[in-house]
């Protein structure tokens, strides 16, 4: 069984191995044992609510219970840009026009901004090669949306993701070569690594503060602005299907796009429903394809768990779970769980249900309905 849970100390070796295998390009997770250890510690502090809410880092592990191993992770950074400065370029337009001469020129221009400051970021999606199948990537990515919605007061209304920009096989980024490297004598891969170990804002201090007129950059650099790396295209498509859109901001190093969505508009959030658990000992065929599976979240903050079950388990007011699934989710009969389709098209049964989500027959989980651990109800987090 594959189960989402908060990342733990014992995942360090698995995480390091995954980060090493991923190589360059995974900015937020460099293969650095000490750094990863600190991230795990921060994650634990976050789930235990021992750190300031805005400093929170929620890293989720995908655990293969048979292998007793962490095979993927994904994350949510509660807020960016609060203790360091978070930079993006905004792709903007400058118009110069002279009526006298009949000239009207549009010049695409990059403006350095801190527009994402104080916004929640989804980040650090990483999945072992051995488990890239059967919707595991979707589970890793989408479980976060159920968490975001159930614990909205911890996050900004809007969430965003920075998508990896274009670089070639040898790690050269056309935008970095044409722009960043002119101001900072460093290879892109090195700058990217420094970003990952938390020194991006130091590099950004060396970057140009005045707007950059794109016609001054070579064609190959202009072309990659707002474009994703080929390997990132599936992730971008998945987020787009969830309702994320390019917001006009790009990474200051490689020009990769920033996509964003309001939490209440995210498809997984909109299409999710709550059901009471019914633990049943009836044998269950768990080998159904991803298209016929639904995600089940236990809606717990501290002991957040998500796994998938066949859509057949869902009925009009309950979801039937085999005992081992209930155990993995740490739920019992009668507990309220949250369900959402794993794939875009969703299972037929569930698609039928979805048409009813707006009707009163289905009650959507009100925010904060789930009882949370003490200490989260801080008024400073509201609004």
């Amino acid at each position: 069984m594959l189960v989402i849970r908060p990342l733990q100390e014992r995942d360090l070796d698995d995480l390091l191995a995954m980060a090493q295998a991923a190589g360059k390009g995974l900015t937020t997770l460099p293969a650095d044992r000490d750094l990863l250890q600190r991230k795990i510690q921060l994650t634990q502090d976050t789930f235990d609510q021992r750190c300031a809410p805005e400093a929170g880092l929620f890293l989720f592990a995908l655990e293969d219970t048979e292998l007793d191993r962490c095979v993927g992770i994904s994350g949510i950074q509660a807020r960016v840009g609060l203790d360091e400065v978070f930079y993006n370029y905004r792709v903007s337009t400058t118009v110069n026009a002279s009526r006298e001469l009949g000239v009207h020129v549009r010049t695409p221009t990059l403006h350095l901004t801190n527009d994402m400051t104080d916004t929640t970021e989804i980040c650090s999606l990483l999945l072992s090669d051995s488990h890239r199948k059967g919707g595991n990537g979707l589970l890793l990515s989408r479980c976060r949306f159920m968490f975001l919605d159930d614990f909205r007061r911890h996050f900004s209304d809007k969430v965003f993701a920075e998508m990896r920009g274009v670089s070639d096989a040898s790690g050269h980024s056309p935008l970095w070569d044409a722009l960043g490297s002119r101001f900072f004598d460093m290879e892109f891969s090195e700058a990217d690594y420094l970003s990952g170990v938390g020194r991006k804002s130091f590099i950004a201090e060396l970057m140009p503060k005045y707007p950059i007129y794109l016609p001054l950059l070579p064609q190959r650099a202009r072309e990659v602005i707002g474009q994703v790396h080929r390997n990132t295209e599936p992730a971008l498509k998945m987020l787009q299907a969830e309702g994320f859109n390019f917001n006009g901001l790009v990474d200051i190093f490689d020009g990769g796009p920033v996509v964003e969505a309001f939490i209440h508009n995210i498809r997984t959030v909109r299409e999710s429903v709550n059901r009471h658990v019914l633990v049943r000992h009836k044998p269950l065929d768990t080998g159904v394809p991803a298209t016929e599976r639904v995600m089940v979240s236990n809606r717990s903050f501290r002991d957040f768990r998500v796994t998938t079950v066949p859509a057949l388990c869902v009925s009009s007011d309950t979801v039937s779970l085999p005992p081992e699934v209930a155990e993995a989710l740490e739920v019992e009969s009668g507990d309220l769980v949250r369900l959402a389709p794993l794939k875009d098209a969703g299972p037929a049964l569930f698609a039928g249900d979805r048409r009813m989500t707006s009707s009163t027959a289905w009650h959507r989980a009100p925010h904060g309905a789930h009882s949370e651990p003490n200490g989260v109800e801080r008024s400073t987090l509201d609004g």
Binding site: S98, E100, T107, R182, F184, D185, L206, I212
Partner: protein
């Protein structure tokens, strides 16, 4: 003998011939059309006469003519106030230090800022001379006659002076600095922009110039090399100005990136070394070749000739020189060594 004097309407054809012969070598800021040129000469005449005061847009146009051969061999101008009542545009080359204490790096980043700082300084310009005269006494005469005029009419001009030097262009006419920067914003070739800037109000520059500073490192290599560099054909001009005390500061032309030379008016060699003397007729002995300027305002004339100093602090020159300068014996003239 060579004579520099205020331009007159009757010089119009001569100036046009000169300018059209020069086309393709160095550009001048002179208008191409007959009407434009006539207007310019008229404005100059009203400036010389004093009808236009220093704050009313004085623009002076001088011509170089050969007394015996006739014809116009050169023109040179002074704008009493750069910009002539409108903003005078330049880029100021400046530097920012991008430093990170944390990363232990510090880097000098060169930036071009749009500037009007030189607006209202007296500007030398509109210089054109027959190519064969470059580097001769006539060349020096034409250029420095303006400074003798300024020396004689000092209160018309400002304490700081500037001169724009044409920037680098290729043999094929491309201007690397323009092609890397201005072209993207003005959407026209250099020649067109240059022509408009001579013809039209400067409003179009305000409208079309990039509104933010420009990082030099993002310009093409050719444009970076051209920045602040003079056109090779102007080297003798620059040499002359440098001897006068001009120096290249941090300003460059917005179109071709050519340097703008600056000087303190009262420190210029011609102003410091020129003296007023009585001029007498007589064959000079132990002669020295000097610039001689006579007459005020519209009667200003300047030539280069041999003179000798007399014991009573006057100078002696041939009758021909007196005739060229329209002087009588005993008139005051201003003398500057070459």
């Amino acid at each position: 003998m060579w004579l520099v004097r205020p331009a007159q309407l009757s010089d119009l054809e001569g100036i046009r011939t000169l300018v059209s012969d020069l086309t393709g070598q160095l550009s001048t800021t002179l208008p191409e059309t007959e009407e434009g040129l006539a207007e310019k000469i008229g404005l100059s005449a009203r400036s010389f006469s004093g009808e236009l005061g220093p704050e009313a847009g004085q623009r002076f146009l001088f011509v170089l003519e050969h007394r015996e051969r006739g014809g116009i061999a050169g023109v040179a101008g002074i704008d009493g106030r750069a910009g002539n009542g409108q903003p005078f545009y330049n880029y100021r080359r400046d530097a920012l230090i991008h430093a990170s204490h944390e990363l232990g790096v510090s880097r000098r980043v060169e930036v071009l800022y749009s500037s009007h700082a030189l607006t209202d300084r007296t500007l030398l310009g509109a210089f054109a001379i027959a190519p064969e005269l470059r580097g001769t006494e006539a060349f020096e005469l034409l250029s420095r006659a303006r400074l003798l005029f300024i020396a004689g009419h000092r209160n018309w001009f400002t304490d700081d002076m500037v001169v724009e030097i044409q920037g680098v262009s290729c043999a094929t006419g491309e201007v690397p600095f323009w092609d890397s920067l201005g072209r993207h914003f003005f959407n026209m070739d250099f020649e067109t922009a240059d022509r408009y800037s001579g013809m039209l109000s400067k409003t179009f520059i305000a409208e079309l110039m990039p509104p933010n500073p420009i990082y030099v490192t993002l310009l093409t290599d050719a444009a970076q090399r051209a920045l602040g560099q003079p056109h090779p054909a102007t080297l003798d001009t620059i040499e002359l100005f440098k001897q006068e005390g001009f120096h290249a500061g941090s300003y460059v032309d917005i179109f071709d990136g050519g340097p703008v030379l600056e000087a303190r008016t009262d420190h210029l060699k011609t102003l410091v070394t020129s003296h007023c003397k009585k001029l007498h007729s007589g064959e000079p002995t132990a002669s020295e070749t000097c610039l001689l300027a006579s007459g005020e305002r519209a009667a200003f004339r300047c030539t280069v000739a041999a003179i000798s100093e007399t014991l009573d602090d006057a100078v002696k020159a041939s009758l021909e020189v007196l005739k060229v300068l329209a002087c009588s014996s005993g008139d005051d003239i201003r003398v500057a060594p070459l």
